[in-house]
């Protein structure tokens, strides 16, 4: 397989002949700043230039381009496969349950030799946990799922995914990879530190949290945020919530805030926050967050090379949480550099800062939605 950065003009056309790939790409990853992405020219241009290619992408606050971060414009990578076939799927959330949307995507993609699914979803209108659960319900736990929820930086206003040459809000897209030659590996890590007392989720409904220890959860966040409470929900991202099923305390999950409702005192998270699960605030120490990125990358690479230590990944898809971006500011680029260092600069590296990351739990095939993590998906093909 091959991978190549696409240098495109603002209209999505290749910037020069030199930047145009020699072969027709099978798949193009494209991630762009929300306004640029929504404007749609890029997607229209890509569609015109590569009508046969699948375009998978979404809006974001910050695009990852190799070891650089950019809060403006867009970036694209073209991929070509020798032995692997691809199929795309799309579903609008509309008024359906996210579980049903996941199931719908699963049915569209289900087929022999389905090896992995990369899923890119709207970032504000979905319950990522339900979405992944619905998809896995159809394709089965043997198929890995990775990807993430589109972002909008610190604004939390509107997110888009690419579909049929257009930017669509409220949709979910996915690509299925088929065939025995594909090698895919995942890694995911947070690096956040727990702090403060352990609390208990005493009132919630799906991914909407009302109370911790019998008191409004929003009050707690506002107290900890102080004057930054004015910047909610984005400012809540500096204090993610660690939760776990008391029956399986080793499987910890991190939840991040998508929106708040001051009227009812609720906070909506990117995934479920079940009642009676213990919860604890987390805070990020820069060095530990960067160590988290190293851990995720190391894990993915080790998984990819578990059969053949000399196999190199062709592309590294990085999906990292907007919370990390907001917390680390200029130091955020340190984490993408950390990933590149693990990869020794070999694969093409592209990605985006998301409102939710999707990847299997490290060391297991159980795919789930993650928050506040760096997730790494490596793709390679063998002969």
């Amino acid at each position: 397989m091959w991978a190549k950065n696409l240098r495109l003009s603002e209209t999505g056309k290749p910037a020069s002949e030199a930047s145009s790939p020699e072969q027709t790409p099978d798949l193009i990853f494209v991630f762009g700043e929300t306004d640029v992405f929504a404007q749609g020219d890029v997607l229209t241009g890509l569609k015109a230039a590569f009508p046969a290619s699948i375009v998978l992408g979404c809006s974001t606050g910050t695009v990852i381009d190799g070891t650089e971060l950019s809060d403006e414009g867009f970036r694209a990578v073209a991929l070509g496969f020798d032995h692997t076939t691809l199929r795309t799927a799309f579903c609008e959330v509309a008024h359906r349950s996210c579980f049903a949307v996941g199931q719908s995507l699963g049915r569209q993609l289900l087929g022999p030799d389905l090896k992995t699914v990369i899923l890119i979803s709207d970032g504000l209108q979905v319950n990522g946990s339900e979405l992944v659960a619905g998809l896995v319900d159809v394709v089965g736990a043997g198929v890995s799922v990775s990807g993430g929820l589109a972002g909008d930086g610190a604004r939390f206003e509107k997110t888009y995914v690419a579909h049929e040459g257009k930017a669509i809000s409220g949709g979910v897209t996915a690509v299925g990879f088929y065939g025995g030659a594909l090698r895919v590996a995942h890694g995911s890590a947070g690096g956040w530190d727990e702090f403060g007392p352990q609390r208990l989720i005493t009132r919630s409904d799906g991914n909407v949290l009302y109370e911790l220890d019998g008191k409004p959860a929003l009050d707690l966040y506002e107290r900890y945020l102080g004057e930054e409470a004015a910047d909610l929900p984005a400012s809540a991202l500096v204090y993610p919530l660690k939760i776990f099923d008391p029956a399986r305390p080793q499987d910890e999950m991190v939840r991040t805030v998508l929106s708040i409702d001051r009227e009812v005192g609720s906070m909506t998270f990117a995934g479920d926050v079940p009642v009676n699960w213990p919860a604890r605030l987390m805070r990020g120490e820069f060095e530990h967050l960067i160590d988290g990125a190293t851990t995720a990358a190391s894990h993915a690479l080790a998984e990819l090379q578990s059969e053949n230590p000399s196999l190199s990944p062709s592309v590294c898809l990085l999906v990292s949480c907007v919370g990390r971006r907001l917390l680390m500011g200029q130091r955020t680029s340190d984490e993408v550099e950390a990933v590149a260092r693990v990869m020794k600069g070999e694969p093409i590296q592209i990605g985006f800062y998301s409102y939710g990351e999707i990847a299997p739990q490290n060391g297991s095939k159980a795919c789930d939605l993650h928050n506040q993590t760096v997730t790494v998906t490596l793709l390679a093909e063998v002969a």
Partner: protein
């Protein structure tokens, strides 16, 4: 100089061909400072709030701890909790009280054995006992629930329940069960001992008897004695139960004094006692013991200011082998006792096989007799009494008959004695009296009715009341009722008899001296007692046929009565010859088969009406 990594990035981002765009560079540096400040502010605030939260949580925990301690201290159970290393974490007030530890005892971190070692409650016995109790408690499993009971030297009984706790420690709950244990012991004692005398009761006696029977198989000879107090009922009746109870306690003392520790004396009920004498070498030993007991128990008792005289009778059965059950043995001893009493009381009797037959008959009669009153099997018959001068009926004597469904009609001679013995006579006598009064009001003329009083009945403190209520309930005029008593009632306690007769006379009834001439026939009785009538025994009337002795006596009695203004009446008048003699001697009245045998009331009334109408006509 090595530049900070971020600064290198910032320079790189804002440089183009080695030229730094200062404005853009400063912008980045400035924003990095702001990033840093913001992060520091967040960290400060987070730390401060976390400290506050922890402090509040700590305060809340302290309040909870206080509440828990208050709850623990007010528990009725003693409690101590140990951690997984066996070190004490917490105790409550009750635990300290139970173990006699100081109220501010601080045992935190000590082992259970160390705590118990300091307990005052476990001291007072021997050092070995103390060590063993500590060991027994400390040896309870730390991983499984269990419990033990201990009786401490300070007299308390406790239950110690051990339960393992989740973190690997254990919790002991100690409850004071002294009262429960005492109550249990008390109940066990009550089940086996007589409340008044504290002697073994019938239940325990049977156990001991069974033991003696078992030992008899190994060749040991024992004896079982049944003992009854003579005249004890009279003590209760005349002096009241408190005095009776005091006598029983004194009897118990005398009994026990005369027995060996290996013997068992028991109270079976009322004034019935029983004794097991173990290891009897010679029969004569037991005879001697029986004699000694009778002698000691018959000595006067001074109780509550009263001198009380009672006696004792004893029946003995020897246990020679295990052929007889405890029930058989007790029954045999009881039969021997019955025989001893029948032979005159104040003596003992050893069981012999032939006792069975006679007693079985008597028992059967007793059972039927008791049922008879309940089943209304008694009936009153009336024998007319004739005024010798006028020839008219002047009264009837009421005579009870028993219409037994199994025996046919039974004469009074066969059941009155037994009724007296088994205590039925009061009820039977009252019933006859009442029936006679009720019947007699249905005969309009002023004829009298004579009702016999048994000596036993005469001694009853209820007699006056019984007569009064019979008169009141029937509406019979008191002067129509005659009560017949025999000389016997006056012999044992003359003064009491005299006062009783006077009380009866005050009711307006007449008193008749019955069977005159058969007993002591002391003429002084007639002088001292307020009799209205004297009844000459039928044996003298019958003797008129044979010799002249009868005539002499009849003549003397009639003359004496006439002289004292007492009515004389002769019974057993069967022939016209008898009648002519009595008429010649000026006897006032006559009664006998010459006129009529005793007949049912219906016949008596018919007889009265026809005879008196015939006379008037």
């Amino acid at each position: 100089m090595e530049l900070h990594k971020l600064l290198v990035q910032q320079l790189a981002k804002t440089s183009k061909a080695g030229v730094v765009d200062h404005e853009a560079f400063l912008d980045l540096v400035n924003s990095a400072y702001e990033d840093h400040d913001r992060d520091r502010r967040r960290a400060d605030r987070g730390s401060r709030l976390m400290a506050e939260e922890l402090e509040a949580a700590g305060a809340e925990l302290q309040v909870q701890n206080l509440r828990f301690q208050a709850a623990l201290d007010n528990m009725p159970l003693g409690l101590c909790l140990f951690d997984k290393n066996g070190k004490l974490i917490v105790t409550n007030r009750r635990f300290l009280e139970l173990y006699g530890l100081d109220p501010d005892y601080d045992g935190a971190g000590k082992s259970l054995s160390q705590v118990l070692d300091e307990s005052a409650s476990l001291r007072g016995g021997t050092e070995l006992e103390r060590r063993l109790q500590i060991l027994e408690h400390a040896a309870l499993s730390k991983t499984a629930a269990g419990q033990i009971e201990q009786a401490w030297p300070n007299g308390r009984s406790v239950n110690i329940a051990r339960n393992p706790v989740k973190d690997g420690g254990f919790l002991d709950m100690v409850s004071d069960i002294t009262e429960t244990r005492q109550a249990t012991a008390q109940i066990a004692h009550m089940a086996n001992f007589d409340a008044l005398t504290d002697l073994p009761n019938r239940r325990l006696f049977r156990e001991r008897l069974a033991e003696a029977v078992r030992f008899s198989e190994r060749g040991e000879r024992s004896a079982v004695l049944c003992l009854d107090l003579d005249r004890f009922k009279a003590v209760n009746d005349t002096l009241g139960h408190p005095v009776g109870d005091a006598v029983l306690i004194e009897v118990t003392k005398r009994l026990v004094e005369n027995l060996r520790p290996t013997d068992t004396a028991a109270r079976l009920g009322g004034d019935e006692f029983a004794i097991i004498v173990r290891r009897v070498k010679r029969v004569s030993e037991t005879h001697a013991l029986a004699r000694r007991l009778i002698e000691h128990l018959s000595a006067p008792y001074l109780v509550c200011g009263h001198q009380v005289l009672i006696g004792a009778s004893i029946g003995i059965e020897f246990i020679k082998n295990a052929d007889l059950s405890t029930d058989d043995l007790l029954r045999n001893a009881d039969l021997a006792l019955y025989r001893a009493k029948a032979e005159g009381k104040g003596r003992f009797c050893v069981f012999r096989e032939e006792f069975h037959a006679s007693l079985d008959r008597r028992r059967q009669l007793e059972l039927e007799l008791r049922a008879a009153l309940h089943n209304d099997e008694f009936e009153v018959y009336y024998q007319p009494q004739i005024d010798i001068k006028s020839g008219g009926i002047c009264g009837f004597e009421a005579l009870v008959r028993w219409n037994s469904p199994t025996r046919g009609q039974v004469a009074p001679a066969e059941f009155i004695g037994l009724s007296e013995e088994i205590g039925l006579i009061d009820d039977l006598g009252a019933w006859v009296l009442r029936r006679a009064c009720l019947d007699m009001v249905r005969i309009p003329d002023a004829v009298s009715v004579a009702v016999n009083l048994s000596p036993v009945q005469f001694k009853s403190e209820h007699l006056v009341e019984t007569v009064r209520s019979a008169l009141k309930d029937s509406g019979l005029a008191p002067h129509r009722l005659e009560l017949e008593v025999t000389e016997g009632v006056m012999i044992s306690d003359t003064r009491r008899a005299q006062s009783m007769l006077e009380s009866l006379k005050k009711l307006g009834v007449s008193i008749v001296l019955d069977d005159f001439g058969t007993g002591y026939s002391s003429l002084s009785y007639i002088r001292h007692f307020p009799f209205n009538k004297v009844k000459i025994d039928q044996s003298f009337v019958r003797d008129l046929d044979k010799a002249n002795d009868g005539l002499a006596i009849i003549r003397a009695v009639v003359a004496m009565c006439a002289g004292m203004g007492i009515v004389s009446i002769a019974e057993g008048v069967e022939t016209w010859e008898h009648f002519e003699v009595l008429k010649a001697e000026q006897c006032d009245r006559a009664q006998g088969y010459l006129y009529s045998k005793p007949i049912p009331f219906k016949d008596a009334r018919a007889f009265f009406e026809s005879r008196n109408q015939a006379r008037r006509a």
